[in-house]
Structures are given as C-alpha cells and as structure tokens.
Symmetry: C2
Subunit: 666 residues, 2 copies
C-alpha cells in the first residue's frame, strides 16, 4: 500500500493557475525590451465566497528580493498587473494570491443589517485590524490600533458602519495582509530584457569586397568606410557583413557555384578558414584588425551598428581541422566527413561534430569566437544556419555571452521547419528570419503576420523579415520589376518592426536568376566581386530612405504587437494598422500587391476603435509623398498605381479644435 | 559575475516539446477509463537532417519500469502513439526521442550513387550495426553481427545496396538504438484510469423517505428495496440517495424552507447530525446499517449501484459541534459561526473551518467518513458543494481514497464559476455537474457541448448533466409541459455520456415552482415527505426506459469525444452525431427544442466523413419508436411534433450488398 501523507500546510485555500506569459511551463523566457511593460495575467481564486487578493512578484534574476505589484481582477477569475524592468538581462516573475480575511470582513460588513449582528461583526473586524497593525511598521501600526479601538468602542449601527467602512483606513489595513496561507505559483517564470534594437532594427547587408569605388579592384574596410554615408542616408541602423575571415583555398568553389574555382576566383566568404587563420582572423585583402576596429567606430559615427556573421563551419584548410581533428566526424577511410545531404555533397565545407567526445572543448572555443568579436566592439551577430548545430550549445552560448553582454543581439538565420525555428527563438535567439520572402498574397501575408503578431510565439519569436538575401531572389522579385521591389520593401518595413535588405542588389533592382526556377542570383556576390553603380537613376535608395524615415519617426512601426489588418474590398490591396498603446501614433499602410496594374478599393476603418468621430473629417498624412488627404467616415477610396507609388503609408492625424475655432490635425 | 557552467551532457541533440495531453504542465492528471486508449502526441525533432526516433514511455504509478511504444510522425514534427492501461489507478507517461545514427545512415545510404562513396558508407554502417549488436540479446546479436560482416565483405554497389537495405535486418538493428544522448521530457505526466462507469453512467436520484407504498407513512430502506425494479426498468445504473443521516433538530427548517419547523416537520436531509449521530450514522426512521447493506446488495442484483451524498457540513446539534469545537469558526460572542452570505443567514448549517489549527484532524475525520461508506459497499459519491471546502483537502482525500479504492467515483456538485468547476475536476473529481440545466437554445447547447467535448477540459472534466435536481426546476420545464421534459431528457441522454434525473418528480412531470421566478419546487421533498403515483398514465417512465436502452445498446453514446453538430436549417431543431472510433456505431440525434410547435427542416450530413455512398440509400433506425427510414443523399427532411415525439434518435445502418444481390442494412 502506497502511503499518502498529509501536505505540510493544508490551509492554502487560494489557487494560482495559468500564469501568462508562460513559455513551455517556464522552461523558456519571454522577451521584452527596456521600458516596455510586461503584462502578467493569472487565474486566482479560492473556495467559497471569501475575498481573494493577488500580487505580481518580480525581480532581476540576480536580485534576492521580490518587488511586488498588486493585481486587479479583470473578470472570470482572471487577474492582471504589469511591471517595467529597469535594466537589461534576465528577470523572473511569478504570482501569489491569498484568501484575505480582512477584505472578506469588510465586504460582508457593508451588507449586514441586524444591529446585534453588526456589533459582533465589528469585534471580529477589530481583531483582524489589530492583526494587521501587528504586521505594520510604527506610524501605521498606531493608526490601525486606534481604528480597532474605535470599532470596539462603538455600538450604534450607524456609528459602527461609519467607522468600519472608512476607505483610507481600510486600504491601509489591506496593505498589511495575512499571507501565511498564500498560494504562490510554483514556477519562477523567466523574462529576458533586451535593448530597443532587439525589437526595432533596420538592417543592410553588403559584401565589403564589392565596395571599391572603381571596378576591377577588391574592396577593403577603408572602401567600406567611404560607403557608410550612403547606407546611413537610406536610414539603416544595422550594417551586416557576411564573414570577413580568410577564405579556404582547398576545394574552393568558382563563380556561380562552379565545383572548381578558376585562377583568381575569390571563393565564398562562408568557406571559412585558411592558412592565414580562422574565425577570429580577418581576410588579409579586407584589412587588419585595427582597420576593422576603425570601421566599427566610423559606422557608429554614422548611426550604424556593425553586425557580423557567425558561421560555425570550416573550409578544409581551416586551422581547426589539423589542430582539433576530434571536433570533426571522420569516415571509415580516415577522411573528414564533409557536409552532405545525399546524393548532394558539399565537399568544401566541414561541419563540426556536436557529438564529439570533446564537445566541451568545442563549445568553449566557439563561444570564445563570439566573445572575441564582442571585444572588438561588435554586439550584433547574424548566425548562419543555427539549426544545423546542436540546440543545447546555443542555449548555453547565448546565455553565457548575454550574462556579460546583455546588449548582445543574435539573429537566427534558420529557414527551416516551423517548430525548429520556434525552438531556436526559445533557446535565446533575439531575432529570427521568417518565411516572409515566400508570402506574397493578401491571404498569405494576413495569416502569417497575424500568427507572428498574435500567436503564442509573440512572446519569444521576434521576426526580422527580408525581401531578399544573397541566397534568396524570389520569383516575385524576378518577374515583378521595380514596383515589386518597392512593394516588398514597404511590406517588410511596415509589417515588421525589424527588417533588412541585401544591397546594393536590392536598391539597384538586381533580379536575374542564375537559371530558370532558381532563387540564386546570376553572378552572385557569394562567389565573385561585383561593382555596383550606386548613382543609377532607377535606384530605390531615395525611396528606401523615405520608408525608413517613416519608421524612425513613427513609434507605431517600432513594435509588432499592435498589428491589425483592415478590410479592403480588393484582394490585390492589403491594408493594416499599427498603433502605440496609447493610440497617440497610428499608421495605416495600404499596399498594392499587384506590381503590374493599378488597383483600387474601399478601405473600411473601425472608427470607434480608433476613437474617431464618424461625422468629422480626419487627416491621412501620406509619409512617402508628403501628401495630406482629408478622409471622413469609415469607408474611403484608395487607388494605387504600381508604376508610380504602389503603397501609401499614412499617419492618421486627428482633428483638434482650438478655442479660437481654428482646426488643425495632430 | 554569475557563473555559467557547462551542462552535464551537451550531446543531447533531440528535443521533446509540447507533450499532450498535459494539464497545467503535468500538475494534474488526464482521465481515461479501463480499455480506452490514451493517445499521446509530442513535438520531437533535432538539429540538421539526421533521423529522429521517439518512444512513448508509460507505466502504472507504482511500477518501477517503463513500458515503451514506438511513436510515429504525423507531420510538422508531431509524433503520436497510444497505450491502453490494463488496470485501474494512477499511471504516468512521458516521451523520449533521440537522433538515430543507424536510421540516418540507412536513409542516406539509399540515396548514395557513387561506388566508392557507397563502399565507405557501408563500412560506417557496419560499425553502427555492430554497435546495435552489442546492445541486443544473444540470438539477435548474432544475426546483426553476421549482417555487419556481410556488409564489410561486399564491394559491388548492387550487392552493397541489397545487403544494406534489408528491411527485416534494418528493423532489427533499429530496435536496439543508441539512446545515450536521448532527450526525455522532464515531466512524468499523470493519468488516472477509472472504470467505465466514470465515463458512462445513468443516474436516478430519489428521496428514500418518499418511497412508502401508501401515503402518510415515511419510507424506509425496505420500501426503497421494493422500488428498485421500477428504477432498474427505466434503465438507470446509479441510484443516488440524498443524505441518509440523522437530521438536526436545532433550528430545523419547515416545509417550503420555512424558517421555523412545525411539529412533525421532517427537516432537510442536508442538515446533517443530531443526538443519534452524524455522517456515519443512519437516520433511525430509514433503517439500520444492516438494512442499508441489504439495500446495497439488492440494488446490485437489479444492476443498480448505490451512490451516497457527501455533504460536509453540520446541523447545530451534530455531535462534532460539541466534540470538536476547534473545527468550527466562532464569533466574538462565543457562538459558532453559521453559514452566511450577508445579509442572508443559514443558521441551521455550520460549515467546517478549513483554516482550523487542527486541519489535520478534520481532514482525517472527513476522509474516514468516505472510507466508512466504502466499507459498506458504496463506491460512488455525489459531493455536495465541494467548492465551499478547501481545495487541497479534496485533492488529498480523493487521492487517498482512490489508492485503496481505484473504483471510487466522485461527482462534484459545484454550480459555480467556470474556473472553480474546472479546478475541482483537475483536483480529482471523477465527474462534474454542468451548466446544462440553463443551456436551452441551439446556439447555447452547441457552444457549451462543443466546449465540453473538444475544449481543453475534455482531458479531465467529465460532464454529468441533469435536466432537474431537487434544487433546480428550470423555467423551461416549468412552462414547457410534458414535451419540455422529453426534450431535456433526450438532450441530456444523448449529448452526454453521463446524465441523471431527480425522480419521480421528473418522470411525473412535476413542474410547479414554489413562487414565480423561483427554481425551487413547490412542496419540495427537501423539506417534506411526498407520495408519488408512479402508475399515472402521463408518466415518462416508459419513454425514459427507451432512451436509456438506446444508450446501453449504442457504444457511440457512451463517450463524449466524438460529438459533432450537424447543420439543420431550422434554429429550433438541433442535430448531432456520435460515433465509435471505428465508425461501426453511429447515432444521429435530432431534437425539436420548441416544446409547443411542430418544427421541420433539412438535416445536412457529411456523407464522405461518414463513409456513405452519395448515390445509395442508407437506413436510419429510429431507436425510440423502432421505425426505420430510408435516407439518401446529404440532405434529408425531418419534422418533429413535440406533442407526439419531440426527438429522433437514429442509429445509422449502412447498406451491405451480399453476393446473392440481396441488400440489408447493418
């Protein structure tokens, strides 16, 4: 017979359940940025009819003492409170609730009618107030004791009621509750607090070796320095560089991914490592480590933060291969196991073996690579194919780095199955690449961005959306011409708080695929140096600058939580709203998804939800053109010609009536 | 600086997430009955492209060793398996998954083309097979070793492929996997296995003191014995008795809940306890303990199981009040605190104080009450107002009782807020009263029963629905006449696998309220003895018998999981299907919710989902009348006259074509 002992304390009558946000039972952290409140909800209730009180408990992970915020009921036994963390890094939170005898007494007392009943109940209340006094510090203690004495002294029903139901004293007593039998949610739920760039960032990717001012020469960090004003003027804040390390010579790939490199072929930057060094070395033709540090500083002066690529794989001549054969898998013939997905073979790339007996040595070395670049002033990392490395490594490495550098940002470049992408985000990646590039129709975009903004992943999966990358030239871009690029840019920039483009291919509308059906660029920069004519008349640089300015100037666009799609009676038009929580900044975007034809339709706003007067006009300030339209009522007409302007990004300006009867729009 | 150590094992590359069912992270148990499979799902995946294998682990809670069932992928990294527990009581289950090197090798091997590549890969495979041999017991070990040797010996691609891809040997090797780096879900999820009656039960409630064969006399257990055939003939299997204990004399309530009892008033059975004894005593006018045991046995002979009422509260003259003053709260004037909800006072009832310093003594005593009745042969308990007693008590008491008596069934009579009702079910109550009595329209019934059958509560909240109780005479019954009773009975009996009625008030269509707007019965049996004329011509006993027979004979009606509502183009008609998992038994119910008028409409079946041929007829066998209708196509017409038959309960019979071209319907 199994024993069934009594619990240590059986008088815990309150229940705390369903605390949210809660990711996998508290196994993983929710994410917020500094200054952003975390709203916490929980089911709190008890048996019977007694009053329940609840508090949100929170603290930084390295603090010893909880901070407390009273929770308020919001219906159906759900309670809510929020807190705003005041520094970066890991925090924890939980919820405690208890049956509050004092509040129950006060609730019941107000409903009693019989004089004798009131008198007896007053004595019970006095005892509860005296107990609260015993828990209070000195000045309050005396006030409460005096209140209890007054209650004991009175007898007439009116006097008893007046004394007992004193609001201020009641609140004072309630603030020293008897929490001996409180129920506290058994899990301390984690929260990671990042800086604002984790949520709102605008990325520009380029190949440094393609930045020389004249054709035929390999660009250097110095050339890239000269390119910084160009990038900054377009309004980007993160400049992401593909790997800057020595490139392997063994089995180097040629132009357009030819199996054998020709003489002079520069190879792929992702084939990392050669005699000159590996993941902490710099390609000699780009410059020195000092040049790199200079670049970091110069970028910062232009409001740009440098992001590096973390690609944990080796070219066959990477120094690790000889120094640490135990970090690689070997075939029975003694050769190192190259990357493969039979029958495909990638013999120029050696993956690390995360089942190595020396996994500890491997992990420490890989973490030291990230730490090396942090020491050079880099705090943003775009991680190449994180889904092909062991998950526990990422969880450990990101946590290790962020304990010393809570400002660090990791973007997961995982284009793979949904659960794998979500798991990487749970493990600690700050931002995640998405399926955006392959979501084109109104139905696809609506479903996907509704999931991103409002699905359970919203607590930990921060989308970073890219219309193109060096690996992804979508069919839509290949065949939609310049309007397609404008359309995808506006969608990326206004649907997601973080987005990026791979340039100058993007702004120069580069759109020829290597072969039909391929998403690879012809003459891809991955395998050769390109020279770009940035001054071309059809460049989208100016347009991109206007879009990014709208993002910077409108806080509504800096978060994904408020995204709401708006009905428009044409399936080629998509329309959506973003707002700040206080509604002060509201941006309505309308995009023509058809890059070939004019499309028009009626946009239908929920005026009540926007706090707009149905009978008064309101102003729609188009941020890309500067035009200001007067709209009125719920339904308004929009027509978009892709050849001229395939999208409107409107800031809603409400009419303000001044005392002198002069209207303006705020 | 906080340390961040390496984990003990970093090579755990597989992930197990989102195991279901999982109630509050494993804090509470899912529920199934003996013979019913538990289908378990989990997300299982790993980094990269290697093959993953997963197993469901399960065992009875008191067993030491897991039983294992291989899981199969069902898409989107979701895996599924099921197990059928073979005994009652608590079980646990979890999921383990690992990167399977052997399966990965086999998958890749089938895709390799290069001869040298095949030869090298064969050697790698031989090593994996040898490792599997090392984990296998002797006869298999030798087979695997021989297989590895054959692989090492071959060289020609065709021979290598033929040897390597042997199905049977592959499965054998896969059954001895390398699980050193397996990921096991960290929570052992609990499951409670009950007997079938926990899921499928048909309750009849009556007051024993009203069972005398002639008016003017108080009924006894002997009278009740004579009533058993009547109850059994209606097809009930649980006979539930309100409290059978001595009734308090102090502050006894009179007829129709009068504050003061008149001479001869018998009092409410829920005012438990008097000089003769308390919760383990029997009201002297009902009989002796021996009479009671006789009744239990006699009921069993009629296929009826007795259920008792557990009402943990005391009349003022209950022996506990004097013997254990510490179990009650006292007012400052020294009196015992009676039940109240100011300004309402229930001075005839003393609740227990679950915050008593002697809560341990109180818990043990209350549990001993349940155990006392179990010793008398009672295993079903309807618990009165469990939501006004401390939650931790129920969790402890039910678990304690069920460890010795896994056959015990507890029905929670909690008509309160949704979260409280769900919490009681989570804590261990086997079945739960519901809001059914107040769900009348098609929209209300559809929403509520969809939630019950398909919401998250389906794993632990087993509804038991009652058209009436001694406390609940709904407006619908008061004003709908006899058809309303038939309608509510069919709804209860076919929407829910467990239901009950309070009789003979129900079958005799008793429908006069104490006063307008009240749900109390006039001359309620709660406060007086009634004599019922069971032979009345308008009795619904025969009708109820036919409905309950349909339940017994159709396994589709014995579970709630398959409930699916069926469109019918008249809002006063409701239609729904229930099926066994194999589809062999399918019942379609159509009910006219309007007790006053004929209603007709077109029922629209999803023929494909039912596996029916759109061009061939099928038979609808009406189980209450015995009539058989030939239907064909998706849309069929139904007309229901409440004065004659307000509902159809159809068993779907599919046409079977025999060899001799003679059709019949199975």
């Amino acid at each position: 017979m199994i024993e069934h002992p009594l619990p240590p304390e059986g008088r815990v009558r309150a229940v705390v359940e369903a605390v949210a946000p809660c990711i996998d039972g508290g196994r993983f952290a929710a994410k917020r940025v500094l200054g952003e409140p975390l709203v916490v909800e929980a089911d709190c209730f008890a048996d019977g009819h007694d009053a329940v009180a609840a508090r949100l408990l929170w603290r930084a992970a390295d603090e010893a003492v909880w901070r407390e915020t009273p929770m308020a009921p919001v219906g159906n036994d759900r309670w809510r409170a929020s807190f705003v963390p005041d520094r970066l890094g890991r925090h924890v939170y939980t919820v405690t609730a208890w049956v509050d005898q004092f509040l129950s007494w006060r609730h019941d007392f107000a409903r009693r009618v019989d004089a004798e009943d009131l008198r007896v109940a007053a004595l019970a209340g006095a005892a509860l107030i005296e107990a609260a006094a015993g828990r209070a510090p000195v000045p309050e203690r005396d006030r409460l004791a005096a209140w209890a004495a007054a209650l004991r002294g009175a007898t007439a029903p009116a006097a008893l009621r007046a004394i007992a139901l004193d609001e201020a004293l009641g609140e004072l007593a309630a603030s020293y509750p008897d929490r001996r039998f409180a129920a506290t949610y058994p899990v301390e739920l984690p929260l990671v607090v990042d800086r604002e760039r984790a949520r709102f960032s605008t990325w520009y990717e380029l190949f440094p070796r393609s930045t020389a001012s004249e054709p035929g020469r390999q660009g250097t960090f110095r050339d890239l320095e000269a390119r910084l004003p160009y990038v900054a003027q377009m309004g980007f804040d993160v400049l992401y560089l593909p790997p800057i390390h020595p490139i392997g010579r063994e089995r180097r790939k040629g132009r357009n991914n030819a199996v054998a490199a020709a003489a002079g072929d520069v190879g792929s930057p992702w084939a990392i490592g050669a005699a000159e060094g590996g993941h902490t070395a710099i390609h000699p033709q780009l410059g020195t480590l000092e040049d790199f540090r200079r670049l970091v500083a110069a970028a910062r002066e232009h409001g740009l933060e440098l992001a590096l690529d973390i690609a944990f794989q080796c070219a066959p001549d990477h120094p690790y291969v000889a120094a640490h054969p135990e970090w690689f898998r070997h075939r029975p013939d003694g050769s190192v196991q190259y990357a493969e997905n039979p029958p495909k073979q990638y013999q120029d790339i050696y993956p690390f073996d995360f089942e190595s007996a020396d996994w500890r040595g491997l992990w420490l070395e890989l973490a030291s690579v990230i730490e090396f670049w942090l020491a050079q002033g880099v705090a943003i990392f775009r991680v190449d194919n994180p889904h092909t490395k062991a998950f526990p490594f990422w969880e450990w490495a990101i946590e290790r780095v962020k304990r010393r550098h809570p400002e660090a940002i990791f973007l997961a470049e995982a284009f793979t199955r949904p659960k794998v992408m979500h798991h990487l985000a749970k493990l600690g990646f700050t931002q995640s690449y998405t399926y955006f590039a392959w979501r084109n129709t109104k139905a696809e975009l609506t479903a996907y961005f509704t999931e991103l903004a409002h699905g359970p992943g919203r607590e930990y999966f921060r989308p970073n959306v890219w219309p193109n990358t060096p690996d992804i030239l979508t069919e839509y871009l290949q065949f939609g011409g310049r309007p397609a690029f404008m359309i995808r840019l506006v969608l990326a920039a206004t649907l997601a708080a973080s987005y990026g483009i791979y340039g100058p291919a993007f702004e120069l509308v580069e759109r020829t695929a290597r072969e039909p059906g391929s998403e690879e660029y012809l003459d891809s920069e991955k395998y050769e140096i390109r020279h770009w004519d940035l001054a071309r008349a059809d460049s989208l640089a100016g347009f991109i600058g206007r879009v990014n300015r709208a993002r910077r100037e409108n806080p509504a666009l800096r978060s994904d939580r408020s995204l709401a799609f708006v009905p428009v009676d044409n399936d080629r038009l998509i329309c959506y709203l973003k707002s700040t929580p206080d509604g002060a900044n509201t941006v309505l975007t309308v995009v023509n998804l058809d890059p070939h034809h004019v499309q028009a339709g009626w946009v239908e706003l929920d005026l009540a939800a926007l706090g707009l007067d149905a009978s008064a006009p309101y102003q729609m300030h188009e941020l890309l053109s500067g035009a200001r339209y007067l709209w009125s009522g719920a339904r308004n007409y929009v027509s978009l010609d892709p050849a001229r302007a395939p999208a409107h990004v409107f800031r809603l300006r409400r009419r303000v009536r001044t005392e002198r009867d002069f209207d303006y729009f705020l």
